[in-house]
């Protein structure tokens, strides 16, 4: 195992995922397999290869500094589970 149970719990915490006790082992194994594949890739000599910043060979895609109307507040808030005073209402943060 290259990933410990503790690391798995940490990653789950960062992703705000709660994993049931009986599934912890399955996830640990799956993540472990992924990490092993990455270890395998590491065997390649990449000393002379530039890190890939993007998979497409496209650079400098930009737009002019122009303003257009947004979608309006009603539409913006349309999908929100809870709204108050024209704002998104979210649960206690800290």
């Amino acid at each position: 195992m290259t990933i410990s149970l503790k690391e798995l719990e940490h990653v789950a915490e960062l992703a705000r995922l709660s994993i049931p006790e009986n599934e912890l082992k399955a996830y640990t194994c799956q993540l472990d397999d992924i990490l092993k594949s990455i270890e395998k890739l590491k065997e390649l000599d990449t000393d002379n290869v530039e890190p890939t910043a993007h998979i497409l060979p496209v650079r400098n895609v930009m737009r002019g500094d122009i303003v257009r109307e947004g979608i309006g507040r009603e539409d913006a808030l349309g999908g929100a589970p809870d709204v108050e005073e024209g704002q998104f209402k979210v649960p206690k943060i800290v």
Partner: protein, 481 residues
């Protein structure tokens, strides 16, 4: 007792002066009704794609050059992941390992000494939304309300080296940085509107030691004064901890303006793990020499150069030159006046005195006031030709500041023309002498300060309109009769 020195580095966020947001067409205008400047892109709705605003790159390059940075030939954006509802995507598009600019510096003047402060890096990112918490504070809140208008407004973050060793130096750095960003038209730098924000990394160590102490990060300083007070407090606090044999805990602390203290926000244990990854929705930037040179051409004379020139060209004292060049608008105002009227020291006295006093008292920027260089020049001319006294001139200036009327109109309306007619003044002086026989007697028996009182009485009688030199002359003549 051990002597300590502080080690301070600043992280400054400045909103860029663009019309539209960094990755979408929404306006960046401040102060709209909540959630009215939003679209599917800045709301982070699935299926949308960000497209970079070219002006953002131009301004970031400009700021980088003005801060003597190396501009990256190759730069990219990254996702910074964190769960906090001020960003709807659960990540902020920022730059991690390939920022647009790095390794620069700026110079500050502190106590007549120049010091170079290194700049580690400058990168582009999107701003977050605004949260309003129910109840008194974030910890006591039952829920929070989110306004995404500010989400996606372009920012640059400028990270300094830990080169500052006192709150005064930190303040001078922020002053200078603000002036440079204003001069170059990169940012409005309005701290009260949040378009310039500052966090500090602070540690202390025994003086002379090369080893850095444990640092804390101080946030939530919303003014220059707050920055200085917060740093003074935090340095004092850390020294006390060490003196009592304790250890400084690495943590983020928040400045509480009302109580004048810094408080623990979060400690290292629950520090964020941002899991940066290259932003797959944006392609990288390649910045060639032509692009950099085109931007370099647009950089104006910067504040410290201008200060130096004002000392050399206009003979202003260092202090005056520093104050007048602290903002580009003030410096432009000064030069416009001097070009027409000459007398640089007199002009700078008016700017540093009356103009800045009124701007500060009304919490205004020069742009918000109706005073023009032409208005001030006219007042100076009216004083010079003896139409109004220096004292009345201040009154006219204030009226002009408040109403925007011309000096001539104000003088006419309020009947403020200086009395320089000796016949008229002689009459007034005679009656003042008659009504104050004791002062006249005092003067004649050698108490020379009685003259001042009598001049004051004449000025009072004429509501300040009498020509003071003339009053002085006539009084002296009459008293010696």
């Amino acid at each position: 007792m051990t002597e300590y020195e502080a080690v301070i580095g600043l992280e400054v966020h400045a909103e860029l002066k663009t019309n539209s947001k960094i990755f979408c067409f929404c306006t960046t205008e401040f102060g709209g009704k909540p959630n009215t400047h939003v679209c599917p892109i800045c709301l982070g709705l699935p299926g949308t794609l960000p497209v970079l605003n070219e002006k953002v790159v131009d301004l970031a390059i400009k700021a980088g050059l003005a801060l003597n940075c190396e501009i990256a030939e190759f730069s990219k954006f990254d996702r910074k992941n964190y769960y906090y509802p001020d960003l709807p995507k659960n990540f902020q598009i920022s730059q991690y390992d390939l920022p647009i600019a790095r390794e620069g510096y700026l110079n500050i003047d502190v106590d007549g000494r120049q010091k170079r402060i290194g700049i580690t890096r400058l990168h582009m990112e999107e701003d977050a939304g605004k949260l309003v918490h129910s109840g008194d504070s974030i910890t006591g809140a039952d829920y929070s309300l989110v306004d995404y208008n500010r989400t996606g407004v372009p920012l640059i973050e400028i990270v300094s080296e830990p080169d500052m060793s006192s709150p005064e130096e930190a303040r001078a750095y922020l002053d200078q940085l603000k002036a440079i960003l204003e001069y170059t038209d990169v940012s409005d730098c309005k701290m009260q509107e949040g378009s310039l924000r500052c966090d500090a990394n602070v540690s202390v160590r025994p003086k002379g030691s090369q080893k850095l102490g444990t640092k804390t990060e101080v946030k939530n300083m919303n003014s220059f004064r707050a920055l200085q007070r917060a740093l003074e407090y935090e340095i004092e606090r850390q020294i006390e901890v060490l003196e009592e044999g304790g250890q400084v805990v690495q943590e983020t602390r928040s400045w509480n303006e009302a109580r004048g203290i810094t408080e623990t926000m979060r400690s290292k244990e629950d520090a964020h793990d941002y899991r940066y990854l290259p932003e797959p929705d944006l392609v990288p930037l390649v910045i060639d020499v032509e692009w950099v040179e085109r931007i370099r051409q647009t950089i104006p004379e910067l504040p410290l150069e201008r200060k130096k020139r004002f000392v050399e060209e206009y003979g202003l004292p260092e202090y005056d030159a520093g104050v007048v060049t602290s903002s580009k608008k003030l410096a432009d105002f000064f030069e416009a006046c001097v070009e027409k009227f000459g007398n640089p020291k007199e002009v700078s006295n008016w700017i540093m005195g009356e103009l800045m006093r009124l701007l500060n008292a009304n919490n205004m920027e020069l742009n918000d006031s109706p005073v023009t260089p032409g208005g001030l020049i006219r007042i100076l001319e009216l004083v010079k030709e003896g139409t109004i006294s220096g004292k009345i001139a201040k009154q006219v200036f204030e009226e002009m500041f408040n109403t925007g009327e011309t000096p001539d109109a104000i003088i006419k309306k309020k009947n403020l023309i200086q009395i320089s007619d000796s016949g008229e003044l002689e009459g007034i002086i005679a009656s003042v002498m008659e009504n104050n026989p004791k002062s006249v007697e005092d003067y004649r028996s050698g108490k020379k300060q009685a003259l001042k009182f009598l001049v004051g009485q004449v000025m009072k009688e004429t509501k300040g309109k009498a020509n003071p030199q003339l009053v002085n002359d006539i009084l002296l003549k009459k008293l010696s009769e």
